[in-house]
């Protein structure tokens, strides 16, 4: 009875088919808004994103702080720093060729993972040739040698840098001999020890050494570095050879050749070598030069 008298409460309003989709639409729009906001944030300094990620590292006081901070994941932290180091190097290689923090990055990296031989190897070669800082490179290698006394790679690199850049041939030979006696040493080490002891600072030796560095690595960046150095060695070697022919021509005939082609015609050289950067060699007054300006070589 009561039921009949009491008006029935209105039943739940049946939502239209679109109302059920509303939360989904809101969520999708939420993500779209987040996406747009992030785009706006990144637009501020997109070009500098990569550089910024690396620059953060200069705020790290040192690897000594990073070690405890990464709990038991030091080796993984070293890998992350390694990926950043590779990015940092690649970025500056493409842009300004300034490698201000390279040494610091490799110091952190090797403090986190003192056995990371690949990091000492890459760090030393790039510090020595790209950052023009062979002293810092040798310092890094000596640190690595103290921590890894059985690794032949580190004294080998130290010998290579000492031979090519600081040109202390006696010291270089000593480094190569240390490397040659360590287990698993590369077969070329013994020969290089002999070459360094003979103090032969010739282009052929430099070319052979860079060729062997090229063949001995899987690191793409080190290969590129070796190719750059091989080209540089070739230019120096060609220029020196042509200069010598010019000098002989002048001694014989009492005048300079009109152009380098005259050297070939007169039989002072078999042919004009190809310039590795796509330019050509030419004679300016009495000096042989390459037409590629130094800053465009590579």
């Amino acid at each position: 009875m009561v039921e009949e008298l009491t008006p029935r409460p209105p039943g739940p309003v049946r939502p239209g088919p679109l109302v059920g989709l509303l939360p989904l639409v809101v969520v999708i729009w939420g993500f779209v808004a987040v996406y747009l906001l992030q785009l706006a944030i990144d637009a501020g300094g997109q070009a500098r994103q990569r550089e910024k990620a690396v620059e953060e590292m200069m705020y790290f006081p040192s690897g000594r702080f990073m070690r405890p901070a990464s709990i038991e994941y030091q080796v993984l932290a070293a890998d992350i720093v390694w990926l950043r180091a590779v990015q940092y190097y690649g970025y500056h290689l493409m842009t300004d060729r300034k490698y201000e923090w390279l040494g610091h990055i490799f110091e952190i990296l090797t403090e986190l993972d003192p056995r990371f031989i690949g990091a000492y190897h890459f760090g030393a070669l790039t510090l020595a040739w790209d950052a023009n800082n062979p002293d810092e490179a040798l310092q890094l290698l000596r640190l690595g040698m103290r921590r890894n006394p059985t690794s032949w790679q580190l004294p080998f690199d130290a010998g290579f840098i000492t031979y090519m850049l600081t040109r202390d041939y006696e010291m270089a030979a000593r480094y190569f001999r240390i490397a040659a006696e360590l287990p698993g040493a590369w077969h070329v080490t013994q020969r290089w020890a002999a070459v360094a002891a003979g103090r032969a600072g010739s282009f052929e030796v430099a070319r052979d050494m860079w060729l062997e560095i090229y063949q001995g690595t899987e690191n793409r960046r080190i290969r590129e570095l070796a190719v750059r150095q091989l080209r540089a060695v070739k230019v120096s070697q060609d220029t020196a050879r042509l200069q010598e022919a010019v000098n002989r021509f002048r001694e014989d005939r009492g005048r300079l050749p009109v152009g380098l082609a005259e050297l070939v015609r007169a039989g002072y050289t078999v042919s004009l070598p190809e310039e590795p950067y796509g330019g050509r060699y030419y004679l300016e007054a009495d000096r042989v030069r390459s037409s590629t300006p130094a800053r465009e070589r590579d």
Partner: protein, 255 residues
């Protein structure tokens, strides 16, 4: 006695493997390991090292999280849901309950290490890294580290809430990896009190860096078998001692 412990352990194991937290953590671990495939091309000749470092680190970190998150709820949940009354009304002693819980969770962790270890080797195959049995040593040492952490988690679980237990256990994990550094820092301090205190803490707190051999394993450096055996013994003795404390704490509670 052994039958009762086994029954509790088995029950704990069954309960834990139905837990969504466990499944989620294992899936995440495998995803992190698989991300090595993406990172690989950026590693410039160091692919083997990066893939193995990432895999072993993910295995350790996610197993630690399992011990902390699942272990921290074990005993508390029984008390909260009043199921402890049913268990303790049966002829089960309190210490058997704690030990059973411990072995149940250790079985879960060993199974997780096995699953993640299989995923680790699958990813090595996928990324073309040469296989070796050496990483297994790092995984076994991780299990010994987990033996201590699980005991810590169960100890906290007997008297604090799951969140507090997880936070405290994780704090012990962090400190356990810092004790060596703390001692080195304290050695430089002029105060004899700080020196003595740091020595005391160094020996009382678990020294978890004993169990981290991943760097040596990935670089193929020879490990000292004597040190490994001593570390394993250390874990067993430390965990047993903590379990005694947990049993004492649990026995004092009124139900």
């Amino acid at each position: 006695m052994i039958g009762r412990i086994r029954a509790i352990a088995l029950n704990t194991f069954r309960e834990a493997i139905r837990d969504k937290v466990l499944l989620t953590l294992i899936v995440f671990a495998v995803l992190v390991m698989a991300s090595a495939k993406v990172i690989q091309p950026l590693a410039l000749g160091e692919e083997q090292k990066v893939v193995q470092d990432l895999g072993l680190a993910a295995l350790t970190l996610f197993c630690v999280l399992i011990a902390v998150l699942v272990g921290g709820r074990l005993v508390y949940k029984e008390v909260e849901k009043r199921t402890i009354y049913i268990v303790l009304a049966k002829p089960v002693r309190r210490w058997e309950f704690i030990v059973g819980k411990y072995f149940g969770l250790m079985t879960v962790l060993a199974a997780s290490v096995a699953v993640m270890g299989a995923a680790f080797y699958a990813i090595l195959l996928l990324t073309g890294v040469p296989l070796s049995a050496y990483p297994l040593i790092a995984m076994v040492m991780t299990v010994f580290q987990l033996a201590i952490l699980t005991a810590v988690a169960i100890l906290f679980s007997t008297f604090v809430t799951p969140i507090a237990s997880a936070v405290f256990t994780f704090a012990v994990y962090l400190v356990g990896h810092l004790t060596r550094d703390l001692r080195l820092l304290a050695a430089m301090s002029p105060s004899p009190v700080i020196k003595a205190l740091s020595q005391f803490l160094y020996y009382v707190l678990p020294n978890l860096s004993n169990f981290n051999v991943r760097g040596e394993v990935v670089h193929g450096v020879a490990l000292d078998p004597g040190a490994l055996v001593l570390s394993a013994l250390y874990a067993l003795v430390y965990a047993a001692t903590l379990l005694l404390v947990a049993v004492a704490a649990f026995s004092r509670r009124d139900f």
